[in-house]
């Protein structure tokens, strides 16, 4: 168990690979990216770890830090804590037993699909929604990107968030409880969370609404996928079904779109895709939506099946999981199962602390100065062309104006403005070129067939 500083963000830019194009910057839903000296720079305060930039990058220059798989060797009990979508990554001819077997071969000693016993989390959320009347609709905290988005951009909706932890906490507590009951010491147990997305890495490294993370390491799903594929055995496959004893249909479907929404409230909605979520939250904040009880919001299209660290096609993943779920019982069938003994203890661990606002779009803490900056921005906007080309290193003209009033950019950063200044002899051609090189890197504008970013066709 470890404590990390303030807000950890998993996304990093590889300066060697970044070609200084504008794809990531244009795709970012919170305008967190700027280009400086020919490289993408991510503003940590604004980043919500949605991974849109990682998907948009043609050079694979945006990457995530992760723990080395070898780290598991330092523990006596090595738990692989993985979401049901992991199974959905593989083609149907590879069975659950084969995947479980390969995970054991890699070196894990205990395997937990983390959405179990999902009934505990489901009941806990239901109880909260029934009691809490202060803010509706209740919004799920399942997706950490959505929670961060609400923190920075929609603080008026913080009261709507359901203070319950994620399924990985549930799975981790179950694993700990069962191993410790068998006599294992906490420091002998290493819990490794296999994640389908970047946001979950950040939420494990700097948890929202809890003091410290229960997980000892994080492994990217696509890295693990390759390892498992290599270790698939085709003969003498052991039966591992006892390891999935408390897995339910509801658990398998939980991380897919409507996986939560189907269980809560008379009227519930599920929205996936970060841009869709933003458009909806704008409306919700304006009270332009009908009486909804429960909102499930997920940053990725097709929810976790479309996670940015997954290996499979998201639609095929959904299909396999829905097909798989039919073979499992609903969580309501587990009412008399011995696992219920653990219900009070595990449920008490699922309650999270309230989540605070982190408004990052304020121009200045001093209202008067903020107003001044705002008026200045309005005047600057009159001079900018409104093309939103990104050639200034900011995603659009409005963002450039904002950077200017915050002393992070200047008028000459606009290539069109600079062009007209040359025409009016206000600036020399060589000075103008130097300005552009400062933003986009030296020699960027010389003819060179081997230049970085020369071939961007085909994405």
């Amino acid at each position: 168990m470890h404590r990390l500083p303030d807000t950890y963000h998993a996304l990093k830019v590889d300066a060697q690979k970044c070609i200084g194009c504008t794809h990531c910057m244009q795709s970012c839903p919170t305008e967190a990216i700027r280009i400086r000296n020919g490289l993408a720079v991510i503003d940590k305060k604004r980043c919500v770890d949605c991974g849109q930039c990682l998907r948009a990058c043609p050079a694979k220059a945006i990457f995530v830090e992760q723990d080395d798989l070898d780290k598991i060797k330092s523990f006596k009990y090595r738990v692989a804590l993985f979401p049901a979508v992991t199974i959905g990554q593989f083609p149907e001819n590879i069975s659950e037993n084969q995947i479980y077997d390969a995970l054991l071969k890699i070196g894990f000693t205990h395997l937990y699909e983390l959405e179990q016993p999902i009934g505990f989390l489901k009941d806990s959320i239901k109880e909260y929604c029934r009691k809490d009347k202060k803010a509706r609709p209740h919004i799920s905290t399942f997706c950490p990107s959505v929670v961060r988005l609400i923190q920075i951009r929609y603080p008026s909706l913080l009261d709507n968030l359901i203070p319950r932890k994620a399924p990985h906490d549930l799975g981790a507590h179950l694993a700990l409880e069962q191993l410790q009951n068998q006599g294992a010491q906490r420091d002998e147990i290493g819990i490794f969370y296999i994640t389908p997305c970047i946001a979950k890495i950040s939420s494990v490294k700097s948890p929202l609404g809890e003091k410290e993370s229960i997980v000892d390491g994080v492994i990217n799903m696509n890295v693990l996928y390759n390892k498992v594929r290599k270790n698939i055995r085709t003969t003498d496959i052991p039966d591992t079904s006892d390891r999935r004893e408390t897995l339910t249909r509801d658990g398998i479907l939980w991380s897919l779109t409507r996986g939560e929404a189907r269980h809560f409230g008379e009227r519930s909605m599920a929205i996936d895709g970060i841009h869709n979520v933003i458009r909806f939250l704008e409306r919700l904040e304006n009270e332009e939506v009908p009486d909804i009880d429960f909102l499930e919001l997920r940053a990725c299209d097709q929810s976790c099946a479309g996670g940015n660290l997954t290996a499979g096609n998201r639609f095929l993943t959904v299909e396999r999981l829905e097909h798989r779920a039919k073979r499992y019982e609903s969580s309501s069938k587990f009412k008399d199962h011995p696992i219920q003994r653990l219900a009070p203890k595990l449920k008490s661990k699922l309650i999270s602390d309230p989540i605070d606002a982190k408004p990052v779009f304020i121009l200045d803490r001093d209202r008067e100065k903020a107003l001044e900056k705002m008026s200045k921005m309005q005047r600057i906007i009159c001079f900018l062309p409104g093309i939103d080309c990104g050639a200034c290193g900011a995603p659009n003209c409005q963002a450039l104006a904002e950077d200017m009033v915050n002393q992070k950019a200047k008028m000459s950063d606009c290539v069109f403005l600079q062009q007209t200044w040359q025409e009016e002899n206000k600036i020399s051609t060589s000075k103008a070129l130097k300005n552009m090189e400062k933003k986009w890197g030296k020699d960027r504008f010389k003819a060179d067939c081997n230049k970085r970013g020369r071939r961007n066709e085909g994405f």
Binding site: R153, S156, E282, A357, D364, E368, L371, E402
Partner: protein, 136 residues
Amino acid sequence: MELNFSIEGGDFTQAGQASSRVKKVLKQLGVDPKCIKSIVIALYEAEVNVVAHAHRGQIRIQIEKDKIITIIEDEGPGIPDIALAMQEGFSTASKKVREMGFGAGMGLPNIKKNTNELQIDSVVGESTTVKMVNYF
């Protein structure tokens, strides 16, 4: 600082443009989220009123360090009995407008609830002017 918008009567898809813009600005000024919410709700209702009842309208917004003043002027039928229009559930909206989910008679009462000062002046058959003030 000042913000100006114009609204076309009958174009429901455009209602909310001014309130969305104002919301963004107030967030950048660091105004309390609950206060922003009230302003946005009141402004949206006022926008819908113009769209639902009038031919066209103008919105003029002045933001100062401690308050926001919004003046919505429209050319339209006017309001014959303002006191009556302020009552919850009273509506003159056409069937067509109601079918679109508007015109429940909550507009003006909702504006009143969400503003610190509200002044409505109207000349029947000509225009309506709504002035709202919200303190931060």
